[in-house]
Structures are given as structure tokens and as C-alpha cells.
């Protein structure tokens, strides 16, 4: 049918229209807010909804292209083929640069529409400015996409068969990792737009700041989930048991996370105490700027990483200019306008304000450290210092050094009063629990079969944060038993931190790996686990051929799991991939991968035992839950009282 054949062109028209609408959404309401012209400001909301509709149409058309195997679309032909299962075809939409950019823009329009819908309690000029800023950002991304990365380019003559979706991406975990990540990344546009709106207005009214807090919390929570999914996916997909590599693209998502965590805390101070206004605005700008920087790093080819999309200098230049304009413009505005917004409320040295200042200091320094380490190779190259490379030994050590003081301070935060408190009160409350954590750590030290020091450190840190947080819960229960969602959110998030610390440090300390040549029937013991290798058979898949091994795992003599590690060769490109056999456990995971055939029926088999690894992702999920719960506080949604003047 003629119309169906022209759908890609229709999508391009939709995108062009969306660009137009975005420009209008950007310019008109900002002008209206500046001059006080109501009809111009009123453009903001309908424009947001219209933009969402247009981009959604384009997205739907791209999805359809994959579902029906429309190889006349270059992007579809490059990233799928007739053998690709349907579920993965849906996911292939964001499997490469152009499509993932469309997903990015879609998320942006969704957030924009959500702001339009849920901003009833804000005065029109504020809404107009916030949506206006989002409109401008959206216009930049749409322009970038339309002019350098069009997902709807045609491929003529149409090939009969496409290439393939990168086999590393053909997995359910990959289906939700990018969308979650993008929802988070892009969600920071809301506090960003709000900060710009406040700077443009020349005022920071804490009642309007209160409105942004749930948005920041939700964006951060989604980002936490997105990062957690990436880590979990890498763990089971790449098969060597790693869960975080400090890869430049991972760092690109971690920096906004750190800035976002600092922002959540800083916004709390600004909203409740009217302090740190300028810093909160700067952080809001920084968090979204880091999201943009992350997008740049992944797509410009400036840094190589196993994650990054193909390098294209023109594309890189375009997005760099865009980055420069948005970040530079915001920072310029900040420098010019921020001084007017400062309101110095007094507080004593022992107060929650001070603790949160320290929290922000440590998180911001950690964020700067990650940025430094990620860009350092480029810097060294630019300065002619040779080829340096910065990896986990640097990041891991530095991060630990910076986070240790933070972990030590966490329990004090909730128990120290605002404005002024005596050091004795929170210390007295926490001292017994510090003692208990120390005791547990010492026990762990002597009980650990290996890595005793790290194990003790993990138990100490996790125990301290968990017990300190529970002490707060107990104080509340004793006081009046009332928990606002904000408090609950904090409790979950801090407990999540404790669980995470436990998992991260203990898996490092306790993990065991053994690589052995095994013949069928051979047995290998690793710790309390026994691995019986039962041989390898061929096993075909929908779009690959696999060598599938069978390994029986026993723990302390009794059967635990039957694992089937695979080595797959994908039909389309011939790529070979290992699929690990994993048994997940609350207290430990067992992982098996098969390597090369060594002749004579022997195979190279790698066995990992990873204690507490699931705690890493459980902790992250708890933190995300905390973010969502805190956002649900009705105080944030209550319509504020009329302004006094």
C-alpha cells in the first residue's frame, strides 16, 4: 500500500514538525514570561503535548520498520535481519546510534509533557520558563538528529537481508537498560530547566523548588535502576563475573548519578532552610550538563570504549557545539544572576546543614574525580604526555577513599538537628551501634577464608550505615511513630547503600576463580563447591549455533544446580559470544563459562564463585525505591499558599 511504503518519509516530516514545535515551545513562552504576555506563555503546554505526539509517531514508525522487516530503511537493515526474534526487533530500535537518539528525544518529550500535565500548582510564568527551556533543549537534540543522524534514511536498492543486531545486545536485560537509563539521564532536565527558569526570573522561591524535588528524586531513581541494569547485564552477558569496569561510558552515566545524589540532598536543605540556593542551582545545572556530556562522550567517538557508537567527527563537532551552547549559556547565566539569590541563614558548626555540606563536598569531589580520570587519557594525549590509561585500579582506589568518610557520616545526618545541635546527642545515640559494627567487623575478619581486611571493611561500613539508619527508625518510633514518605525514602535509600557496600566489598574480597582444562567426567573443587564437567554438545538457536556445555554444581556435597554455559556463533556476522551458566543465590552466585576446545574432548572451563554479588543490585534497587518513595510525599504536591507580595 502506497501510504505504508511512505511511512519513513512521514516520520521525517513528523520530526521536522516536532523541531518546529520545539523551537516555538522554546522561544514563545520564554518571551511571554519575560514580557508578561499570557497568550505566549499559554503556548507551552499544548506545544509539549504536540511534540510528544509527533515524536511518538516517528518512534512508532521506526518500530514498525523493524517488526515488518522493512530493509528499505537503512537503520533497520543495519541492525536486524529476518532471523532476529520479534522481541529483539522491538529492542533493536535503540540498538545503535540513530535509534537510541530517537529514544532519547522521545524520553525528553515524555518528561516535557509530564511537566506540562503535573504543574498545576505552579504560576504560569514559572511553567512557561521551565517548559521553554526544555523546548530549547529538545530543539537542539531534534536538530542534531535530523541533520546528522537520521534514523529514517533509505537504503536503495533494498537488500533482501539485513545485517544483525549486535549479538551482545540480544538479550532481555538490554531491552530495558537503555530506556531506564535515558529516563533517568533526561529526567535531570527538569531540575535543570527549573534552575534556568529561576535564574532568568532572578528569584528562587522555595515553594517552587519544593515542586522540583520529586522530579529530581524520580529521575535519580530511574538512573539508579538504569545503571544497575547495565551492571547486572554486563555481569551475566560478558561472562567473566565483572560488574563494573569504570569504562568511559559507564562513568558517563555515573557522574550524573553522583551529581544527582548531591542535588537531592542540597535541594532538601534549600527547600527546608532556604540555604545553599546558589549551590543547588549550580548542581542542577551540573547534573544535566553531565548527562549531556555523557551523551557526547558516547556518540562523538572522542573516547573509545566497548560501549561507544562509531566515531564520526562531524557528528562529534555538532554535539560539542550544542553542548557548549547549552552548558556555557547556563553557566554564564548562573554567574551573572546567582549572586542575587543567596540567602544566608545561620547555622552552627554542629548541625545537619554542615553534614549535608560535607555530603555534597564528598559527592562532588567523587564526581570530579571520575571526570578527571575519564578525560585524563585525552588530556595526556593533548599535552603530548604519551598514551596513559586510567582504569579500575585508579577509580576504585580513589572512590573508596572518598566514599569512606561519607559512609562514616551517613548515620549522623538523620539524627542531627537542623540549625544547631550538640555533638554529644547524636554521638551518644550512635556509639553503641558503632561498637557493634566494629565487633561484627572483627568477627568477619577472623571468619573470612580470604581477603580478610576487605571483608571486615565491608561489614564495618555496611553494618554502621544499616544500624545507624535503624537507630533513626527507632527514635521515630519512640517519638510519635510517624514517618513521612521523605523519611521512609531516606531510610530505604540509606539501607540500600548499606546493602550495596556489603555486596561490593565482599564480592571483591571473597570471589574465587579457577580456569582448568577439563574432560567429560572430570571434577574440580573451588571452595565449598564442586564442579562436574559433563561434556559439550551442539545446540542450535534461532539465529546462532552454540556449543553447549553441561556442568553439575554441588555445594558441600549436595547438588545445587545444573548449568549450561554456551559458546554461540551468530549466523549473520559470525561473531562468537560466550553465554555464562549462572546459578544465582542470595549469598553467592556460581558462574561457569566454557572457553576453547583443546582437542581430545577437553575444553577450557572457567569457574567463578561470587559471594554476595546479588547484594550489589539489591542495594541499588533499594536506593531507587527510596527515591521513588520520597517523591511520593504529598507535601510536594500540595498547592502552596499565595505569595506574600
Amino acid at each position: 500500500m502506497a501510504v505504508a511504503q511512505l511511512l519513513p518519509e512521514l516520520a521525517q516530516v513528523a520530526l521536522l514538525l516536532a523541531l518546529l514545535v520545539a523551537i516555538l515551545q522554546g522561544v514563545l513562552p520564554l518571551l511571554g514570561a519575560h514580557r508578561g504576555i499570557a497568550p505566549l506563555m499559554a503556548v507551552a503546554r499544548p506545544a509539549s503535548y504536540l511534540q510528544l505526539a509527533l515524536v511518538a509517531i516517528a518512534f512508532a514508525i521506526l518500530t514498525r520498520g523493524f517488526v515488518v522487516h522493512d530493509f528499505s530503511m537503512r537503520y533497520v537493515a543495519d541492525n536486524s535481519n529476518t532471523l532476529l526474534p520479534l522481541a529483539f526487533r522491538y529492542m533493536a530500535v535503540w540498538g545503535a546510534h540513530e535509534g537510541s537518539l530517537l529514544l532519547w528525544v522521545l524520553m525528553l518529550t515524555i518528561w516535557s509533557a509530564a511537566v506540562a500535565r503535573f504543574s498545576r500548582s505552579l504560576p504560569m510564568p514559572v511553567v512557561a520558563r521551565v517548559l521553554g527551556v526544555i523546548g530549547l533543549v529538545s530543539a537542539c537534540f531534534l536538530a542534531f538528529m535530523i541533520f546528522t543522524s537520521n534514523p529514517f534514511e533509505r537504503l536503495l536498492p533494498m537488500p533482501a537481508e539485513g545485517r544483525d543486531l549486535n549479538p551482545l545486545l540480544q538479550d532481555r536485560g538490554m531491552m530495558i537498560h537503555p530506556p531506564m537509563l535515558y529516563v533517568g539521564y533526561i529526567g535531570f532536565v527538569v531540575p535543570f530547566a527549573f534552575a534556568i527558569a529561576a535564574l532568568l526570573d532572578g528569584r528562587l522561591d522555595v515553594r517552587w523548588l519544593r515542586w522540583t524535588r520529586p522530579w529530581t528524586n524520580v529521575a535519580w531513581a530511574f538512573l539508579t535502576i538504569g545503571i544497575m541494569l547495565g551492571s547486572w547485564w554486563a555481569y551475566y552477558e560478558l561472562g567473566w563475573g565483572g560488574w563494573w569496569f569504570w569504562d568511559p561510558v559507564e562513568n558517563a552515566s555515573f557522574m550524573p548519578w553522583l551529581a544527582g545524589a548531591a542535588l537531592i540532598h542540597s535541594q532538601a536543605v534549600t527547600e527546608k532552610r532556604g540555604s545553599f540556593n546558589s549551590w543547588t542551582l549550580l548542581l542542577a545545572i551540573a547534573a544535566f550538563s553531565l548527562s549531556l556530556l555523557g551523551a557526547f562522550l558516547v556518540r562523538s567517538g572522542v573516547l573509545t570504549s566497548v560501549h561507544s557508537f562509531a566515531a564520526d567527527p562531524t557528528r562529534g563537532l555538532f554535539i560539542l557545539v550544542f553542548l557548549g551552547l547549552v552548558i556555557g549559556g547556563s553557566l554564564l547565566l548562573y554567574v551573572l544572576r546567582a549572586p542575587r539569590l543567596e540567602d544566608g541563614k545561620p547555622f552552627a558548626a554542629t548541625s545537619r546543614e554542615t553534614l549535608l555540606l560535607l555530603n555534597n563536598l564528598l559527592l562532588a569531589t567523587a564526581c570530579a574525580m571520575v571526570l578527571l580520570g575519564t578525560l585524563y587519557p585525552l588530556l595526556a594525549d593533548a599535552l603530548g604526555l604519551g598514551k596513559v590509561s586510567v582504569g579500575p585500579p585508579y577509580f576504585g582506589l580513589m572512590f573508596l577513599l572518598l566514599m569512606a568518610p561519607l559512609v562514616a557520616l551517613v548515620p549522623f545526618g538523620a539524627l542531627t538537628k537542623w540549625q544547631r545541635d550538640t555533638p554529644r546527642t547524636p554521638t551518644a545515640m550512635l556509639l553503641p551501634w558503632a561498637g557493634l559494627s566494629l565487633l561484627l567487623a572483627v568477627v568477619a575478619y577472623f571468619m573470612a577464608p580470604q581477603g580478610a581486611l576487605k571483608t571486615a571493611a565491608g561489614v564495618l561500613g555496611a553494618g554502621w550505615v544499616a544500624l545507624g539508619t535503624l537507630r533513626f527508625v527507632w527514635s521515630r518510633l519512640r517519638a510519635n511513630g510517624r514517618f513521612t514518605p521523605e523519611m521512609l525514602g531516606m531510610v530505604f535509600a540509606h539501607l540500600g547503600l548499606a546493602v550495596f557496600v556489603m555486596g561490593a566489598l565482599l564480592v571483591e574480597a571473597q570471589n574465587m576463580v579457577r580456569e582448568v582444562a577439563m574432560k567429560p567426567g572430570q571434577v574440580e573443587d573451588v571452595g565449598a563447591y564442586r564442579f562436574e564437567f559433563r561434556g559439550v554438545q551442539e545446540a542450535p538457536g534461532p539465529n546462532y549455533m552454540a556449543d553447549r556445555g553441561t556442568v553439575q554444581v554441588l555445594r558441600n556435597g549436595s547438588p545445587l544446580a545444573l548449568l549450561f554455559p554456551e559458546k554461540r556463533t551468530y549466523a549473520a556476522g559470525g561473531q562468537v559470544m560466550t553465554d555464562a551458566g549462572i546459578h544465582a543465590g542470595v549469598l553467592a552466585d556460581v558462574l561457569v563459562t566454557i572457553g576453547e576446545p583443546l582437542g581430545d574432548d577437553a575444553w577450557a572451563v572457567r569457574m567463578h564463585v561470587k559471594p554476595f554479588v546479588r547484594w550489589i543490585w539489591a542495594g541499588a534497587l533499594l536506593m531507587a525505591l527510596g527515591g521513588f518513595v520520597a517523591a511520593g510525599d504529598r507535601r510536594f504536591r500540595r498547592r502552596p499558599e499565595a505569595s506574600p507580595a
Binding site: A348, L383, S389, V390, L397, Q419, E515
Partner: protein
Amino acid sequence: MSRLPALLLCMLLAFACTTPARAQVGNDTAPLQFRDAAEEARFHALAGELRCVMCQNQSLADSNALIALSLRREVLDLMREGRSNDEIKDHLVQRYGEFVLYRPKLSGHTWLLWAGPLLLLLVGGGVVATIVRRRGARPVPTDEGQEW
């Protein structure tokens, strides 16, 4: 049109570090045999501090690239020859450059990397101290009306 080969090359590069090439030869593909647990532990620790030079960001211990297999065997042989960890690292740096060290050496031109965050922390700490001092300059009453 030129983007496609680049994309494929990137994918190939990505795979180089996750998949061994199809023609594996020599005994190097066989897993290394360790004499005892101490040797194994030392090897893993040392290999974790060296980089797989082919891959952007993997340690020698984790990578499956061809060169990683060769280098792991080399490291084990050097260990058995009685060389110290530092000597082994020097041996590899002479051949592959500083890049082979996973942890950047503390030398003249990496001082910014190592000192940078510390400096930032100190400066930031100074700023925080100044703010706290200034805000608490006059006597501050306790706020009894706070929720928690």
C-alpha cells in the same frame, strides 16, 4: 557509506576482547596450571594490575584476546624464573610502554591525576569550613519547631 566499515570495526574491536579469534593455536589457549594456591593468588593479583593492551579497559586477568593469552603465559614464566612483581612489570613496560600498567604510575606527568582529587577535597574542605564558620559567627538559636 564510510560509517558502516567503521561501525563494523568497532564491533570487531569490541568482540576482540570478548571472543578469541577462530584460529587458536599453540598451547597458549590451554588454561594455565598453577603449582599451588600461593602462586595462583600472586598471578591473579599481578595480572589484575596489568592491562590487556589490545582492549581498551580490561585487565590482563580478564581478557580473552590473543595477546592476553600470550602475555599471561609470559607473566607466569617470568614469575617462575624468580622475578619480582616490579621486575615483571618493568619487563612489560619496556616492550609495550606504560600503557600496559593498569594502575598509572605515580610519575611526573600523572601527578594531576593522583593529586587532583586530593587538592579538590582540600580546597572544597576549606570552602566548607569558611561557610560553616561564617554562618555560625553569631550565636545561633536551636530550632525547636523542626519536624525531625
